[in-house]
């Protein structure tokens, strides 16, 4: 959803995020909503700056979000509070599921299809009844692409449906049974949230539903960085679909991205398992043998993904130009193939093992020596490289791991033993280069160079362009088959300025796409073809540069409710996705208050406050003729056009690797046994357990009795490389600290400001204790559980320095997208040294009348 649209919400639930702290500019829309009378709810282990702005705050034990959200779902279902018309018309709640499906309620924490040998699920029994041929998992596939790893079933036909939602095998009834034990009492037992707090949240949020009202949910890495991260967000999606809060003004789920253009880096990905525009990366298995087999597997017979052939062929044409022909599959064979876990952690562990498969590493806009989980392992892995290229604004910790890392200080590594050749390149800042950000709300915004970068600093585009140019020059002299793809690659950007910068306009035009014949720019992705006559670097961005004199990302005349005319929101400048759902099945708005797009009967087209995310002239009563494919095979009242059945998925038949419905599992390290099932933690999560990535015993390792979580502060940026080096920011949070409750402080005998040691099986760090009543113990499973909060911004360089919090974390992989678990691990905390050594710093400040 669009950030601005939060202002239209009647309730906003912020969970898994401290939005006020980490997205302060976007948070203006939350404040605006609150000022207009919306209820702002924050559910978070800490009472932080976001809680301070909220009408309702409820704490919870880190890692128990699915129990809390599941209880909200259960509350909706048991009290009949769902937006029934929306649910029946626009979700797969009425769909009947295979008879052989067994729920976690039946199998004590496992779904049917579990293979204990392979430790993975076969999703066959999760499919809609009598729907499709078998679908399966493919090794190595990640979950970022359009069908989450080539697993989505084609769904050529609609499943049997029960619009009364009474059939015991329909999704609605299965959902009801699945979450029946997620009660306020369970929330109290597992999350540590008293029933009255849960009730307040439920009342405040669930009210924001129905034709006249909407509610929005905002989350960030407080939800994703868990061994159940994807399923947590799924639970939110289920709740929003039940409440009719998708595709409507002030409704939706806002994934808050943590940096400028992180959204852009998944659209045009830096991920191993996706090609631009969420096209799946081919594997060595079935889909990789030819372009035809790839298209056959991934193009869906119905829905928008029926156009996949146009997008992949146009992408190949953009990359390989004239060398891409129908005869050579448009160069499909030159694409790399997935052969294993090439995710971030996959290759870091390979590096740590010195398997010899990775010689060198480029690190750009990243500081893994501080910012990566198990940073200790990351720093040691760097020492196994032959070469390392670091490009950044400052010489950060990753570039100097061989000189001043804690391992060198502790004598665990010696500089003279490290053979890694390190190349440090100064990088240009965004003010020193032209380019484009794609932010949280899919909005492309152009920025212009204000000054030339100083000295040898250059843009990333400059570096990649000239590196590519040199590599291509080498490959041209060496025509081995291995070089064929590199030789075929188009790499002819216009260069400008004194440093021969590639023209960022040229790059964005390539992304936008052209007609091959006359190189004219395309108006949008509707113009893409699968016969090689068009090229397009990323189909969802097509339309951003429709003519040589019009860069829509650069436009700054915002108009209307969503600011159309300011930047360009992919796809097709739609600000609210699936906005067809803002109208009733017959095309009239659900209510006057919540109208967004609607069917204009007179002119027979969709009109409204946003670009319709629907066929402009597809009538509400449209019924596909038999044999129709693609978007034409979806009815006029099926808003979720990216899905083959056009419905919002309460149930995910395939594609999510740990089940069709979310289930609570305890974190990989936990202080209590799973109260819902005997299955303790996510069976499909990969712990990557090894001597340099060990785990505490779970549940309840007496050595590590507390819950640990890491997070960010407003004053710093991620690993701190951009903020600890600037005095104006460094002075605002000058020292590494941990937040603990007065109760925990008193238990361990720590005073405010005292140095304490926090340890996990991976390592230990020393931080100042910030003792505050904003942190408080929760009563969980019959005992007080303390949570230790640790901002992770400090490292061993910069104006202000401190231990690396990420040394405490484990590398682990959630099954679908391979995210690690940074919230909700366990730790020990103790006072370092005798108490008399340390005084309360507040006394020092008072005593010396500060330093002025």
């Amino acid at each position: 959803m669009a950030l601005q649209d939060l202002a239209n919400a009647d309730a906003i639930l912020i969970m898994g995020s401290s939005m006020a702290e980490n997205h302060p500019v976007g948070f203006r829309w939350v404040i605006k909503a609150r000022e207009r009378g919306a209820t702002v709810i924050h559910v978070d282990p800490r009472f932080n700056r976001t809680s301070a702005m909220a009408d309702v705050w409820a704490p919870l034990r880190a890692g128990t979000d699915i129990v809390f959200l599941g209880a909200l779902v259960n509350h909706v279902l048991t009290h009949g509070l769902e937006f029934r018309q929306f649910v029946v018309a626009y979700t797969n709640a009425p769909a009947i599921i295979n008879d052989d499906f067994k729920d976690t309620e039946d199998l004590d924490g496992l779904f049917s299809g579990w293979d204990p040998e392979q430790r993975q699920y076969s999703p066959d029994s999760w499919a809609y009844k009598s729907s499709d041929p078998k679908v399966g998992h493919e090794d190595g596939h990640g979950g970022h692409a359009k069908d989450r790893g080539g697993e989505a079933s084609p769904m050529a036909h609609d499943p049997p449906r029960d619009p009364t939602l009474q059939d015991p095998r329909c999704v609605f009834q299965i959902l009801k049974r699945h979450f029946a034990r997620y009660t306020p009492a369970m929330v109290q037992e597992v999350c540590g949230v008293p029933p009255e707090a849960f009730q307040r949240v439920a009342d405040a949020y669930i009210r924001a539903s129905g034709p006249e009202r909407t509610g929005a949910i905002c989350y960030a890495v407080g939800w994703t960085q868990h061994s159940t991260g994807v399923q947590t967000i799924r639970t939110a999606a289920i709740l929003q679909l039940l409440l009719g809060n998708i595709g409507r003004p002030g409704g939706g789920i806002l994934a808050l991205r943590g940096h400028a253009s992180i959204q852009g880096s998944t659209d045009i990905p830096t991920l191993y398992d996706v090609l631009p525009g969420y096209l799946p990366m081919p594997t060595f298995a079935g889909d990789g043998t030819s372009l035809d087999s790839y298209i056959a597997k991934h193009r869906l017979p119905r829905g928008w993904w029926g156009n996949l052939d146009r997008y992949i062929v146009s992408l190949l044409k953009a990359w390989y130009g004239d060398a891409a022909t129908a005869a050579n599959d448009y160069g499909f064979d030159w694409l790399p193939r997935i052969s294993g876990d090439h995710s971030h952690f996959g290759y870091w562990l390979e590096m740590a093992d010195a398997t010899g498969t990775i010689d060198g590493l480029f690190v750009m806009g990243q500081n893994p020596a501080v910012g990566a989980p198990n940073a200790r392992l990351a720093r040691r892995a760097l020492a196994n490289l032959k070469w390392l290229v670091v490009r950044d604004l400052v010489e950060l910790e990753t570039a100097t791991f061989w000189l001043d890392s804690p391992e060198i200080a502790r004598g665990e590594m010696r500089t003279e033993d490290i053979a890694t050749e390190v190349f440090f390149f100064p990088a240009a800042a965004h003010t020193e280069k032209d380019g484009c950000f794609t932010n949280t709300q899919r909005l492309l915004q152009w920025h212009e160079r204000a000054v030339e970068p100083p000295g040898d600093a250059r843009s990333e585009a400059w570096f990649m362009y000239h590196l590519g140019r040199r590599l291509k020059a080498r490959a041209a002299a060496d025509q081995r088959p291995a070089n064929a793809g590199l030789n075929a690659l188009t790499w002819n950007y216009r260069t400008i300025g004194p440093h021969a910068e590639p023209d960022a306009n040229d790059i964005l035009q390539e992304i936008n796409g052209r007609r091959v014949a006359d190189r004219s720019l395309l108006p949008g992705f509707h113009a893409l073809e699968s016969d090689g006559s068009t090229s397009c670097g990323c189909w969802i961005y097509s339309g951003v540069y429709p003519s040589p004199d019009r860069n829509r990302a650069r436009e700054r005349k915002g108009q209307g409710r969503y600011g159309q005319g300011w930047g360009f929101a992919w796809p097709a400048d739609r600000r609210i996705l699936y906005n067809r759902a803002s109208a009733r099945p017959d095309g009239t708005p659900w209510s006057d208050r919540k109208k967004l797009v609607w069917w204009d009967r007179a002119n027979r087209e969709w009109v409204g406050h946003d670009t319709p995310d629907f066929g402009k002239r597809k009538a509400p009563d449209y019924v596909p003729p038999s044999g129709a494919t693609g978007d034409e095979a979806l009815r006029g009242d099926a808003p979720f056009i990216m899905h083959a059945d056009g419905m919002g998925w309460i149930w995910v038949p395939s594609g999510v690797k740990d089940g069709p419905l979310p289930t609570h599992y305890e974190p990989l390290e936990s202080v209590i046994p799973n109260q819902l099932y005997s299955q303790q933690s996510n069976p499909v999560a990969d712990r990557k357990e090894r001597p340099d990535n060990p785990y505490a015993g779970s549940p309840l390792d007496p050595r590590y009795p507390h819950v640990l979580m890491t997070y960010r502060l407003t004053e710093h940026h991620t690993s701190g490389a951009m903020s600890r080096t600037l005095s104006h920011l460094a002075e605002l949070q000058p020292e590494f600290f941990c937040e603990i409750s007065p109760e925990l402080a008193s238990n361990i005998g720590a005073a405010n400001g005292q140095h304490v040691t926090i340890s996990t099986p991976r390592g230990s760090v020393v931080a100042r204790a910030l003792v505050t009543a904003r942190m408080r113990p929760l009563r969980v499973h019959g005992r007080a559980v303390h949570q230790v909060g640790l901002p992770y911004h400090w490292g061993y360089r910069g104006l202000v320095r401190g231990d690396v919090a990420n040394d405490l974390l484990a590398i682990s992989e959630e099954p679908t997208v391979r995210i690690f678990e940074s919230k909700g691990l366990v730790c020990r905390i103790e006072v370092r040294g005798p108490r008399s050594e340390v005084r309360d710093p507040r006394a020092e400040v008072r005593g010396s009348e500060v330093r002025r």
């Binding site: 500019v25 700056r49 301070a52 407003t714 949070q733 929760l778 710093p841």
Partner: protein
């Protein structure tokens, strides 16, 4: 136009963007890297190198955060209040009145401005500020404080802090309009059941009102603001009267002594 700040702490999210924007625009140096243990406040107070300062008030009443869903913005017992403090640019400014060199002047916008090329570092202003705002920079000797972004105002821009504030907690404009806005805001907050908010704009004391008006929850003292700030010069009349009386008495005494001797 006479301008002012209206700092509405009920909209402040404690992001400190104002502190940073101020330092960037005015090229104010760091004032040290000290962890204080005072909530999230490590810059402590306004001073020679902190011209905007966000105060963090943890209203915890000495108890743990209530977990029944009542803590937060609406609570009267467990809250975390933030407020961005700044030079008040008093209508009767103690610093200006005390300045012997004429370095401190009132601008056409109503603000109080220290001309750094004239300041001789005497420090009279420092003790004359009823708010403890103006301060001498030790390594330099001269006095510094908020300039009200005089340079920006001359160019028709809002001060850097107001421009950077993401939630319009810091508003900038014509003083009469802002006073009306503040009054309307209090009424609006009351209507919503937030009854501990009030306007801080000491017009009833000798400072005669300020060009930095605040909407605060709780007592001004919680934010390091005096309820009854007075300009030191209000004591001048009393001081001079006492001196005059003393001088007269002395004169009388002396005269009397001569008279008595002759007797």
């Amino acid at each position: 136009m006479i301008t002012a700040f209206l700092t509405d702490s009920t909209l402040c999210i404690g992001c400190k963007a104002c502190e940073v924007a101020c330092k960037e625009w005015n090229q104010v140096p760091s004032d040290g890297y000290h962890f204080t243990g005072f909530s999230y406040d490590n810059t402590v107070a306004l001073g020679h190198s902190t011209w905007r300062h966000v105060k963090f008030v943890e209203r915890t009443a000495g108890v743990a955060a209530p977990i029944d869903g009542t803590a937060g913005y609406r609570s009267n017992t467990f809250r975390w209040d933030f407020s961005s403090d700044v030079c008040k640019h008093c209508s009767n400014a103690g610093c200006l009145e005390a300045c012997p060199t004429g370095s401190i002047v009132r601008t056409e916008f109503g603000g109080v401005y220290v001309q750094p090329d004239i300041c001789n570092g005497c420090g009279y202003c420092v003790v004359s500020c009823p708010f403890g705002v103006i301060d001498r920079r030790p390594e330099d000797g001269r006095a510094f404080k908020c300039t009200f972004c005089y340079d920006r105002q001359k160019a028709g821009l809002a001060p850097a802090c107001a421009a950077a504030c993401p939630t319009q907690s810091i508003q900038f404009g014509e003083i009469g309009e802002l006073r009306a806005k503040a009054a309307a805001r209090i009424a609006q907050l009351r209507e919503r059941g937030i009854d501990d908010a009030s306007i801080y704009d000491p017009q009833h004391t000798s400072v005669g009102g300020t060009h930095a008006i605040f909407v605060l929850r709780g007592r001004p003292e919680d934010y390091n603001l005096p309820s009854n700030p007075e300009v030191p010069t209000v004591h001048l009349r009393d001081g001079w009267s006492s001196a005059a009386v003393a001088a007269g008495l002395m004169l009388l005494g002396t005269a009397a002594a001569f008279f008595m001797q002759r007797e």
